[in-house]
C-alpha cells in the first residue's frame, strides 16, 4: 500500500531535483564548455546559446592545439593512456598483494600484526610531498625516475592501504564457521581462501578496487615530481592547456570529459558487485 500523500511526493520530487541540479550542474557546464570555442566561453555576458563545435575534441585526438599564438604539440591521448596503464596496473598489484594480506590480518593473530596493519594505514596520513622529496632522491639512485614501474610502485602508497583496510573489514564480517566447514569438508587452506573467502568478499574487493582506482587516477603530485612528459597521466598532462597565450578552457573541458569516461565505465560495471548482502542467509543471525 502506498501511504505517501501527493504533497509528500511533490516535496520529495522537489528536493530530489535540487540535489540533482546541485551535483550535476558542474558536469553539465563542462559538457557544454567542451563544445565551445575559447572565445564563446569567455564572452561577457555568458550565454547558453552558441554554435557547437567538436574542434576541442579533434585537437585532443590529433594532438594539435591551435592557439592565438600558433600551433602547439599536445600529448593528451598519451597522457590518457598513461593514466589507464598506471591506475589499472597499480590496482592490480595492490589487489594481488593486499587481498591476501587483508585475509591474514583478518583471520590470523600474529606478532606485531596490528602494528603492521596500522603502519600501512599511516602511509595515508603523511602529506605526499613529505614522502616525495627523499623518494625522488632514491628513485634517481635506483634508476626508477620516469619509469612505469617506479610510478606503479609509488602508487601502492595510495592503493594498498585502502584495499587492505576495506577488504580486511569484509573478511572480518564473514563467519569463520563457513571457512571451517569448508576445511572440514576436505579442502586445504588455499582452496578455502580461493573458493569461499574470495567469492564472499567479492563485493568488498570490487568496492575497494574501484576506490583505489579512482584515487590512483586522480593522483597528481607523485607523477608530477617522479615522471616527465611521456609517462605523465592526465592530471599532470592537463597543465599543458595553460599556455603562454592563455588557458584553453574548451580543451580542458573536453579533456575532463575524456578522463571521466574510464572511471565512469568502471563504476557502472562494478555496481553489480557493490550490491552487498551476498553472505546474508548463510549463517543464522
Amino acid at each position: 500500500m502506498d501511504h505517501t500523500s501527493p504533497l509528500e511526493k511533490l516535496i520529495r520530487a522537489a528536493l530530489l531535483a535540487i540535489v540533482i541540479i546541485f551535483f550535476m550542474f558542474p558536469i553539465a557546464w563542462i559538457v557544454l564548455m567542451s563544445f565551445q570555442t575559447n572565445e564563446s566561453i569567455l564572452r561577457i555576458p555568458p550565454s547558453l546559446i552558441f554554435t557547437p563545435t567538436i574542434e576541442n575534441y579533434v585537437a585532443l585526438i590529433t594532438g594539435e592545439m591551435r592557439t592565438a599564438a600558433g600551433s602547439l604539440k599536445l600529448d593528451f591521448m598519451r597522457n590518457l593512456w598513461n593514466s589507464v596503464l598506471l591506475s589499472s596496473a597499480s590496482v592490480a598489484v595492490s589487489l594481488l598483494l593486499g587481498v591476501p594480506a587483508a585475509y591474514a590480518f583478518a583471520r590470523f593473530k600474529f606478532r606485531l600484526g596490528e602494528d603492521i596493519a596500522f603502519t600501512l594505514l599511516s602511509f595515508r596520513f603523511a602529506p605526499p610531498l613529505l614522502v616525495l622529496l627523499p623518494l625522488s632522491l632514491y628513485f634517481k639512485t635506483l634508476g626508477l625516475t620516469n619509469t612505469y614501474i617506479g610510478l606503479i610502485w609509488v602508487y601502492q602508497l595510495i592503493c594498498l592501504p585502502l584495499i587492505l583496510w576495506i577488504v580486511r573489514g569484509y573478511f572480518e564480517d564473514l563467519s569463520p564457521d563457513i571457512e571451517h566447514a569448508h576445511r572440514i569438508a576436505g579442502y586445504n587452506w588455499f582452496q578455502t581462501f580461493w573458493k569461499i573467502a574470495i567469492p564472499l568478499a567479492l563485493p568488498g574487493i570490487a568496492a575497494a578496487g574501484l576506490l583505489a582506482f579512482i584515487f590512483a587516477w586522480n593522483n597528481f603530485v607523485f607523477a608530477l615530481v617522479l615522471a616527465s612528459a611521456d609517462k605523465q597521466p592526465v592530471t599532470v598532462g592537463a597543465l599543458a592547456f595553460v599556455t603562454a597565450s592563455g588557458i584553453q578552457y574548451g580543451q580542458i573541458a573536453a579533456a575532463i570529459i575524456f578522463s571521466i569516461i574510464p572511471t565512469f565505465v568502471l563504476a557502472m560495471f562494478a555496481q553489480r558487485y557493490l550490491v552487498e548482502g551476498l553472505s546474508l542467509g548463510a549463517v543464522k543471525g
Binding site: S175, D177, I178, H180, A181, H182, R183, I184, A185, G186, Y187, N188, W189, I196, P199, L200, L278, S279, L280, G281, A282, V283, K284
Partner: protein, 359 residues
C-alpha cells in the same frame, strides 16, 4: 579400539580456563552426547576435534593415532554447525556435494551421493535453491546432509536443533537416532537440551565447571546422578532439593525437613551428622491420606503433557513438586496429605563437595 579419544585436553584464553584435562573415548558407531549449559566450552571442544581450534594442551586421537598434526581436511570428519555455516554462494546440492568433490569422487558418484542423503533428509525438492532461499529447517537439514555426504567415520553435531522451531525439533529428535545409527559413524552430539540428550545418547558426558562431571548411560545419569549439578540439570520439572543434616535414631536414619523428621533408608546412617542436600525427583513423590510421611498441603495443580504437576508445601514451609500420571487420583488445591519418597528417586548429596552419597 576407540574410534575417537580425547586425552587430557585443556583450553584457556589467557588466564580464563574454559576446560581442563578432559578425557573421553568413543567406540565405533557410538553416540556420545556432550551435555552442558552455555559457555561450558562444548563448541570449542568439537572444533578442537575437527582441528580448526588448537588445544592449549592435550591431544585428540582418531582411530588410535594422535591427530595433533593432522589438518582438518585430512581428519575424515563430518561436522554440522549450530549456525549451519552453509556456503552462501552455492546451491544446496553444491553444498552437499562439497565433501564428495573434495574426495575427488567421480561426477556420477557425487550425484548419487547427494541424492542419497537428500532423500534421507527429505530435502531433494530444494536442492537447486541457495541457502538464502531455504527455511531454517531446510538449512539445518542441508547442513546435516553435507556432514553426512562423504560417510565420515566421525560425525560432530554442534547443537543442530538449536535454531529450528519446536515442531521440527520434535520431529528431528525422533528421526535423528535412526539416521545416525544408519550412518554407522561415531557421533559426538552437543546439546543443552536434556530431552535431546536422553533421546539420542548411548552415553552422556556432562560438561560442567570445566570438566566432565559424569559420563554414563542416560538412565544412569537420571537415576544415579554423580553430583548435585547433574541431578539439577536433568529432569523437567527439576529435582526437589532441601538442605538438611543426616541424623540417626537406633538403626534408622532420618533427615530433618524444616522441623519435620523424614525417614530415609538405614544405609545412610553412616553419614550421621553430615550436612547434605536431600533431593527427590517429583515423580518419586507419592501422596496419600495416611498416618506417616511428610505433612503437606497442595498449593497448585498444573497439567503438563500426560502428567500432572503439583506444587506442595510442607508444614515447615518447604515447597516441592510432585509429578503424577494423569490417570492417578489427583488431589485438589488446599487438600492436606502426607508425602512419602520412593528410595529410587531420592538422593543425598554432600553439601560441600556436591557429590552423591551412596545409600
Amino acid at each position: 579400539m576407540n574410534q575417537l579419544a580425547i586425552r587430557s585436553l585443556s583450553k584457556s584464553f589467557g588466564a580464563f580456563k574454559v576446560f581442563e584435562g578432559l578425557n573421553l573415548a568413543a567406540d565405533s558407531g557410538e553416540i556420545v552426547v556432550i551435555f552442558g549449559g552455555s559457555g561450558t566450552g562444548k563448541t570449542i571442544l568439537l572444533r578442537m576435534i575437527a582441528g580448526v581450534e588448537e588445544p592449549t594442551s592435550g591431544h585428540v586421537e582418531i582411530a588410535g593415532e594422535n591427530a595433533t598434526d593432522v589438518a582438518p581436511e585430512h581428519r575424515g570428519i563430518g561436522m554440522a554447525f549450530q549456525n549451519f555455516a552453509l556456503f552462501p554462494h552455492m546451491s544446496a546440492s553444491e553444498n552437499i556435494a562439497a565433501p564428495l568433490r573434495a574426495a575427488r569422487a567421480a561426477e556420477a558418484e557425487v550425484e548419487s551421493g547427494v541424492s542419497r542423503v537428500a532423500r534421507l533428509l527429505k530435502i531433494d525438492h530444494v536442492l537447486g535453491h541457495t541457502p538464502r532461499e531455504l527455511s531454517n529447517g531446510q538449512k539445518q537439514r542441508t547442513a546435516l546432509a553435507r556432514a553426512l555426504a562423504a560417510e565420515p567415520k566421525i560425525l560432530l553435531l554442534d547443537d543442530p536443533l538449536r535454531n529450528v522451531d519446536a515442531k521440527l525439533r520434535f520431529e528431528m529428535r525422533l528421526e535423528l537416532p535412526r539416521l545416525l545409527r544408519q550412518s554407522g559413524a561415531t557421533v559426538l552430539y552437543v546439546t543443552q537440551d536434556y530431552k535431546e540428550a536422553m533421546a539420542l545418547a548411548d552415553r552422556i558426558a556432562v560438561l560442567s565447571g570445566g570438566k566432565f562431571v559424569q559420563v554414563a548411560a542416560p538412565e544412569d545419569i537420571y537415576m544415579a546422578p554423580a553430583t548435585l549439578t547433574v541431578a539439577k540439570l536433568f529432569g523437567d520439572p527439576s529435582i526437589n532439593m532441601v538442605e538438611t543434616t543426616v541424623r540417626t535414631a537406633g538403626k534408622s536414619a532420618t533427615v530433618d525437613i524444616l522441623g519435620e523428621s523424614v525417614e530415609i533408608p538405614a544405609s545412610y546412617a553412616a553419614y550421621a551428622g553430615r550436612k547434605v542436600a536431600f533431593c527427590v525427583r517429583p515423580e518419586a513423590v507419592s501422596l496419600a491420606h495416611k498416618s506417616d510421611g511428610l505433612h503437606c498441603e497442595v498449593q497448585a495443580v498444573t497439567p503438563l503433557n500426560e502428567r500432572v504437576v503439583l506444587l506442595l508445601k510442607s508444614t515447615g514451609g518447604w515447597e516441592f513438586l510432585s509429578s503424577l500420571p494423569s490417570s492417578a487420583a489427583i488431589p485438589t488445591t488446599g487438600e492436606k496429605l502426607r508425602a512419602s519418597f520412593a528410595s529410587k528417586g531420592t538422593h543425598l548429596f554432600d553439601l560441600e563437595t556436591g557429590e552423591r552419597l551412596d545409600g
